[in-house]
């Protein structure tokens, strides 16, 4: 148990009375090394809800993926409108220096486990704007990125392929999702 406040990202909250938080990750550690983790991962991989968050021209393709024609529901991939409900964030376009703080905030609003797909050249390396004065390049130094989908823009099929690769990574436990460890002080 912790005395005083609790830190959620950059926000400091007061602990209400009669509420306690665990400060060990015993359950998490136990599950991680047991066969149960396979079941957990199977569940995670089949419910990759992505956030409808179109950022550049790639966003058009991202919206396309959500329509009935591609039927992403068969893989458990469903578009969601809110970061609170989403597991996957796609960086689908150029990120300007002005936009980066908002993007970080959206990322912080998503609940773990969460994954990032880099969609398109702009997100991966800056694309056509790789030498622009206002574009942030090397997004993978800022976010834990799992899948890179090159193209300008990538076709919806390529995006789906990226999701399937992500599912394979999750099954193989090679993904970079951030599972918070209560022992680190972040709950």
């Amino acid at each position: 148990m912790e005395e005083g406040g609790i830190k959620l990202g950059e926000i400091e909250l007061e602990i209400p009375p009669n509420v306690s938080f665990t400060t060990t990750s015993a359950i998490h550690d136990f599950i991680k090394d047991s066969p149960m983790q396979k079941l957990v991962n199977w569940g995670r991989k089949n419910s990759l809800w992505f956030m409808t968050h179109p950022m550049g021209c790639c966003g058009i393709e991202q919206i396309c993926v959500g329509v009935a024609h591609y039927d992403t529901d068969r893989f458990g991939i469903i578009p969601r409108a809110s970061p609170r409900q989403a597991d996957v964030m796609m960086i689908s376009g150029y990120v300007t220096k002005k936009y980066l703080p908002a993007l970080k905030r959206v990322w912080d609003q998503m609940v773990e486990p969460k994954w990032i797909l880099m969609m398109g050249e702009c997100a991966i390396s800056g694309g056509p704007w790789w030498e622009s004065y206002s574009t942030v390049i090397n997004m993978d130094e800022i976010f834990p990125v799992d899948i890179y989908i090159p193209g300008c823009p990538p076709r919806p099929e390529a995006l789906l392929e990226g999701f399937i690769e992500l599912q394979k990574k999750i099954v193989a436990q090679k993904d970079r999702t951030v599972i918070p460890n209560p022992a680190d002080g972040e709950v």
Binding site: K98, W130, E131, Y133, S134
Partner: protein, 160 residues
């Protein structure tokens, strides 16, 4: 109706003759390459009077304000003025010194000049005197003072 017809009559290249008659030492290098285009250089200190004159003559649409950097000692502010009742687009170029670029604001003549001036300011560092709110428009505020579209800007992440 009468007003409109009067306006239509002046929206042609004769305005350039009127302009250079009215401001003989200020307007120079007048060129009319086609019936729809006219180009002139103006003295930056008289830009306010010239724009007021053009507005009174029916040029009621300030289409854009942009900047050009000519190192080492010159910068240019380029105005495109046109009208809703005629085809002529007038391009006016005013040279300002590069070490202290400043020119009068047009916000009290054309209300839409404000954002154009702010954008030219954030990209080139050209100061518009008496602009009511001369701050960066689209850039992040920390980049104010970097003037990214100047030729000697060094902040590109990947210079080629």
């Amino acid at each position: 109706m009468g007003d409109e017809q009067a306006a239509i009559q002046v929206i042609d290249k004769t305005i350039m003759i009127e302009l250079s008659d009215k401001f003989p030492d200020v307007v120079s290098d007048v060129d009319v390459p086609s019936p729809n285009r006219a180009i002139a250089r103006i003295d930056p200190s008289k830009v306010h009077e010239i724009m007021q004159f053009l507005l009174d003559k029916g040029f009621d649409h300030l289409s854009c304000i942009s900047g050009v950097d000519y190192p080492p000692d010159k910068m240019e502010v380029v105005y495109h003025v046109t009208s809703y009742s005629g085809p002529l687009v007038i391009t006016l170029k005013a040279s300002v010194p590069r070490d202290d670029p400043n020119i009068d604001s047009l916000c009290d003549i054309y209300w839409n000049a404000n954002w154009y001036e702010r954008e030219t300011y954030e990209l080139y560092g050209i100061k518009f005197n008496d602009c009511p709110y001369l701050k960066v428009l689209l850039l992040v505020e920390e980049m104010e003072g970097e003037w990214p579209l100047r030729k000697d800007y060094a902040g590109y992440p990947n210079p080629t």
